[in-house]
Each structure stands twice: as C-alpha cells, then as structure tokens.
Assembly symmetry: C2
Homo-oligomer: 259 residues x 2
C-alpha cells in the first residue's frame, strides 16, 4: 500500500486559554499547539507534525474561532479528521469545530485579511462566579460613551508603538485598525477590535487604556495624545488575558477554507 501523500489542512479551533501557556510551544508548560500536534501525530503514525496558526494567542487568552494549518500524511475525510483530533485531545479544553482541505496557496497566517477579537469586562461590584477566567472584573462603574469616543482615535492606520509589548517581534509598528467598538450589554462592557493584524498585546493595551477613560482617570483626548507619543509608557497598562477571545479569522473569498 502506498503511503498517503501529505496534505495541507485548515482547522477551525475553539479553546479555553486558562490552563495553557498560550498557543505557542514553550519549555515552561502546556500549550494549545502541543495538544493539537500531539493529537495529530497519533494520526500520522508517530511522524512529527507541525502547525501554523492565524493568531498566536497569549497565556489565558481564549479562542472561539482560531484557524490553524496542519500538514498531515493521512488519507482521511474532513469529518473523520475532526472527530479523530477531538478524540485524542479529549482531556483538554480544545476542540476542532471544522476541518477542511486547504485551498491551493492558502496560509492560515499570511492569507488572513482580518482578525476579530472580543474583550469582555464584567462591570459590577460582585466578583464573577460564573465567568471567572473569562472576563476582567472592574467593580467601579465605567463610562462606556467616553470609552467608545476615545476608541475612535485609534481606528485607522497608525504607528501603534504606544500600544505594543516590549517583546513584540513585528518589523513595523504600523497597523490599520479597522474597527474598535465599545458597548454595554447589561453588566458587561464588550470591546470588539478588528484588523488585518495586531501587534503583540495591542488589544489588551488598548483595553487597559480605554478603561482609564471609562473610570474617569483619563480624558477622552488623552488617548489621542498617547497614540501620538509613540512610546509605550504614554499609554495605559495591559488588561488581563482572561477577558480576551479570538472570535474569528477572515480570508479572501477565493481562499476561504470552510466554505
């Protein structure tokens, strides 16, 4: 029997970032990447397997629609691959929602034209019992109108040095933020951010800064000044990982793997 030819697969993933050191493999602990690659290796009959992902989420950051790329020498129908990976990842809070053969020329990372993140602040006095680990708990009331107004300084093409982690490996601090929306849903303040790509910690640094506006420590205009300063110390602190979730990754129609 011939060995099955190696095939490029696109996987849509959901995971709870809580127990992981983040997407990427690290010496210090268990990563989502390792859980996925270990499961895939079982299907590749022990052969090493490597994956590339659309958004390398940090420790504690969740995903509802992460997209990963997997090279695998296994002749399987897409549904069988999804079921087999989910079976082998079973003890961990990681699930493959969809698997598809990757379109010709598709890359999970480089073909993506939009990444959509959602950040949730639980804005009430009582600490979260049901949403522990999924929200940032901010007890003092936030002025969402001011936050939404301030957020608009950040939309568009800018040098985001003030909102970039020191460890960020991107060549350029220039990014185009397509959307940044702040709205209240009852006790929650929901912040949605969309861009082709983000700098390291960019969403969490923007949220940490907007929170200062919401609590009245900062004027709306100061967010524009922080951006113009092009200096990390000019912006607010990094919001906790817990509240952040990668919602979905968008590809050009011709390269959309999941139809």
């Amino acid at each position: 029997m011939d060995a099955p030819t190696t095939q490029r697969w696109a996987l849509c993933l959901e995971y709870d970032g809580g127990p992981f050191v983040g997407w990427q493999r690290q010496a210090g602990g268990l990563s989502v990447q390792q859980v996925l690659e270990d499961a895939a290796a079982k299907l590749a009959r022990g052969g090493a397997v490597s994956t590339v992902v659309a958004g390398r989420t940090d420790a504690g950051v969740h995903a509802a629609g992460q997209v990963a790329e997997l090279m695998l020498a296994a002749a399987l129908a897409p549904e069988r691959l999804r079921e087999a990976l989910n079976y082998h990842m079973k003890p961990y809070p990681v699930a493959v929602l969809a698997a598809a053969r990757a379109p010709e020329g598709w890359s999970a990372r480089f073909s993506a034209v939009r990444r959509c993140y959602r950040y949730v602040i639980l804005n009430r006095r009582a600490r979260p019992a049901l949403d522990h680990g999924r929200v940032w708990h901010v007890p003092a009331p936030l002025d969402v109108t001011a936050m939404q107004e301030a957020a608009q300084f950040l939309v568009g093409r800018h040098d985001f040095t003030s909102f970039r982690a020191a460890a960020c490996q991107a060549n350029s601090p220039l990014r185009t933020l397509d959307r940044l929306e702040v709205r209240r849903e009852g006790e929650r303040v929901v912040i949605e951010a969309e861009a082709r790509s983000f700098l390291h910690h960019q969403v969490r640094n923007m949220v940490g800064t907007l929170k200062l506006v919401g609590q009245g420590s900062w004027s709306v205009a100061r967010v524009g000044e922080a951006l113009a300063a092009r200096e990390r110390s000019a912006a607010g602190p990094t919001a906790p990982a817990d509240g952040l979730m990668l919602m979905r990754v968008v590809y050009p129609t011709a390269l959309e793997p999941f139809g």
Copy 2:
C-alpha cells in the same frame, strides 16, 4: 454595647454548580449552602447561621439569580454584607450579587411566585471546549420546531408525575407550568421554563423528553401521551445537570426584596 438584633436578609446569588453536591448540605461533599453559611458564620462571630433558598438546585446545576434568606445578628449596611460574604467565599465560585433587608413577612421560598430556569443544549458535532460543564452536548441535529410544538402539551396545570423524580418530596404532583419555550440560537438550543414551583428534576425530565422529539425518536404527540400516562417510565430520561441554570426568582411587587 448591645448585641445587634437578628435581622432577616435577602441575598441574590450567582454560582457555578460544577464543584458542588448541589445547594443543600449533604454529608457527601461541599454544598453551596455550606459555603454561604460558613461565610455568614464569620460575620455572626462564630454563631451558627442557617439559610433557606428559593430553588434547591441539584449537583452541577448553576444559578445566575438564586435567592436565599439569611438570619444574621450583625449590624451591617447591605453593601457591606455583600462585600463581606464575597470576601469570605472567595476561593469558591459563589458570589452575592445583591443583599437587602427582607421585607416584613417575606420568605425566599414561600413568597416566590415564579422560578425561571434556562437549559442550554450545544447542538453541534464538536464537543464543547469553552462551555464544558455549562451545556448538554447533543451532536445530532435537533428539530427545534418539533420540540417547541411538543413543549406546548406541558404548558398549563397538569399532574406531572411522568416528569417527577422518584425522590421528589412534594405533596402533590400538580403544577402549573406558565411557559416552556424552545428556540435555536446558532449552535445552541435554549429551553426556558417558568412556573411558581417545579417538582424535583421536572425541568431536566422535560428537556430529556423534548430531546427525543428533537432527534426524531418520538412524535410530537407522544409528549402529550407521556404526560397523560402519569408514570415516570412513560417520559424520557433526565437531561444532565450541566445545561441547567436558575435564572431568576420573582416575588410579588410588595415583597420584592431587591427593589
């Protein structure tokens, strides 16, 4: 200094039922009641404290708006009581959302005129990674229209013997179900049930039965026949606890503790 007089308090609670044996104290493990009473005892300077609750949730059942009644000899402002209880319950996924002095003649259990439960089925192939422990995972597609139609047999005043746990301690199997609604929200099937009171396992037994209709194993009409049979074995199995949440408890306007 005089000892503070004992006061009746109303507490609105949120909890994740996962780690608990249920609301009620049991020899076999930790209950929500014990966590709350242990925290309250610290405020009562070691005196024993007892609570009564609106809905005695089972092991694994969650609450977003449980209401408990607490007798406490401590002179505290309502906000201080809430903060102090939350402080002492900290390691556990239980939070007091609101505390209020109970209106004259109010009982958490006997004054309640409506209990509102929500049951969530995750209806997709992939197992839940983000919602593990919060949903019932049903992989095969459910016909929600048929479930909603069948549910209407159960609305109204009936003998619910067919949907009652063997261990149920209620004197009568007669209950008035005010609302039972089944709807789809994307991958989720959401079932909302409202009544003055429910029999033990009634919601989970109704859900387990409607699921048989949704998957096509049962006709819509068979739910009416199961009800008429007045025999537990005539209805479907008990749905898992994970998907059930007590959403809120309604009191008559004159006795509403949280204004």
